[in-house]
């Protein structure tokens, strides 16, 4: 292929698939966060130093979360095809791949939230308890605001991981930059498109990290910590 042909192909394919990647990463990130927050709170609260210590819930939840995190994503996509089909009506395509992406990222988010809440420390919780605060009040008005910077950097990391996972969605008929890499780079030996895709993915990861870090910095600056 000539350079001209490559360029035409790039302009036809890359912008739309780049948007598809963004769509997959951020929508699944959003849903994973929605699932991860209650799971993380539950993990935090049921641990032995938490607000409602309950070893059974903690161990049970912990096991589920760990299983979720240990299944390789390529296998997860295939394994939950019936579930995906039940949710979105099909197991093929960009939207369908949001289901496995969400399921893969939710346990990660849960651990992010759990870790962030634990970082706040018992002294702060105790201080609020001595003031007569309810547990729900402590979670929403003490733990989350205090751990906001840690949560933001954890979510940033989860989004970066999702970029990696989303590339695999191309394997099973999902869209995104991964699809270009597989269909053109791998199956048709098109080095030009391969490199363009790589550069875009690296830029995307850098961009997400940059925004995440900037957000953390601005929160900390506002709180007088920098």
């Amino acid at each position: 292929m000539t350079f001209q042909e490559n360029l035409t192909l790039t302009l036809r394919l890359v912008p739309i698939e780049f948007l598809n990647t963004l769509y997959m990463v951020f929508v699944s990130g959003f849903f994973a966060f929605l699932i991860g927050v209650p799971l993380g709170v539950l993990l935090y609260a049921s641990d032995k130093s938490g607000l409602y210590p309950s070893p059974w819930i903690y161990r049970g939840m912990g096991t589920i979360v760990n299983i979720g995190r240990s299944i390789p994503f390529a296998i997860l996509i295939v394994a939950i095809i019936p579930f995906t089909r039940w949710i979105v009506g099909t197991s093929l395509g960009t939207t369908a791949s949001i289901v496995p992406l969400t399921i893969a990222a939710a346990p990660f988010m849960a651990r992010v939230i759990e870790g962030a809440l634990k970082e706040v420390g018992g002294e702060m919780v105790e201080a609020a308890t001595t003031m007569g605060a309810t547990k729900a009040f402590i979670i929403s008005k003490v733990l989350f605001p205090e751990s906001l910077p840690t949560i933001v950097s954890g979510v940033t990391l989860a989004l970066v991981t999702l970029v990696g996972y989303s590339a695999l969605a191309g394997l099973v008929g999902g869209g995104g930059l991964g699809k270009i890499a597989i269909q053109y780079g791998y199956q048709r030996f098109n080095g030009f498109l391969m490199i363009i895709t790589l550069i875009l993915i690296v830029l995307l990861v850098e961009g997400i990290e940059y925004m995440g870090n900037a957000l953390v910095r601005s929160i900390e600056k506002k709180r007088g910590k920098r």
């Binding site: 002294e123 201080a127 308890t129 205090e146 007088g224």
Partner: protein, 341 residues
Amino acid sequence: MNKNALIELEKVSKCFTPEKDALQSIDLEIFPGDIFGIIGRSGAGKSTLLRCLCGLDAPTSGRVFFDGEDLSLQGSKELRKKKQSMGMVFQHFNLLSSRTAFGNVSFPLEIAKVPDEVRKKKVPHLLSLVGLSGKENFYPATLSGGEKQRVAIARAIANDPKVLFCDEATSALDPANVKSLLDLLKELKGKLNLTIVIITHQMEVIREICTKVAVLEEGKIVEEGRVSDLFAAPKHPTTRRFLHHLTHDLPDHIFGNPNQELLRLSFRGEKAKKPLISRLLRHANIEVNILAGSIDALQNEVVGHLVVEFVGDEAEKAKAHDFLQKEKITYERLTPRELKE
């Protein structure tokens, strides 16, 4: 139970391990208007005692009364309500880093569901009470240690508590800040009709501000009473150790003279002002060497201590003792070892 006491502990024990009790059958009464000090070394059970006092922990056995009601009989909702009439100041401030000074002081008011308009008026007033007017929008990370503790105090008094608990509140501050913080507490007690309970390991804090004190050792109260009584005549060895580190750190070489007699003289009130030693020397032909001395101005009395060495023959020393007894000076003989402790 005593109807007048604000807080009363009745045979309170707390054990974490079956072998040893962290608190052993503690009886304690704290009356409205007291500035009550609880002093003990680390591990003596101070924090455990405080956690029982403020309802954070339930005692293993015994009862805690606050304002006439048994805390263990309260449901969790009533207990939360009760806690809103107690303020607490912590060693490490425990301010929310995500909130400004205003937000931190407003926090307990939000817990108590105080309406917005009231909060907006009350918080600046509270901050001005602790001398932090104009610092409303400062985040804790931008405040000094002393200022953080002032915010914490404003927060602790936000819900007009009956009692203010201070858990080693001055331990993380430098001496100048300790002094001004204690002055602030005294001032607030007068203005707001507070009862204050102070947990500390620093006798300076007790001397500076407390009216009553309990000495805690290995989970037991070994001595309790008015601060002036304790300073004038400490009975338990632990109390003495706490008191005397304020004055004595004497080098070894001054001990060892065989004719030497070591005494600690204590005087209170008016006696502290009389020129005792020069009159003593007119009565007995001995050498008097002053090794250490202190005068403590307590909340309601002046208490003085003098550690002296008498050197001379036995007959003259006996005359000196007669003089001290006639003058009704409390004194005790010491061995060098006791003095070093």
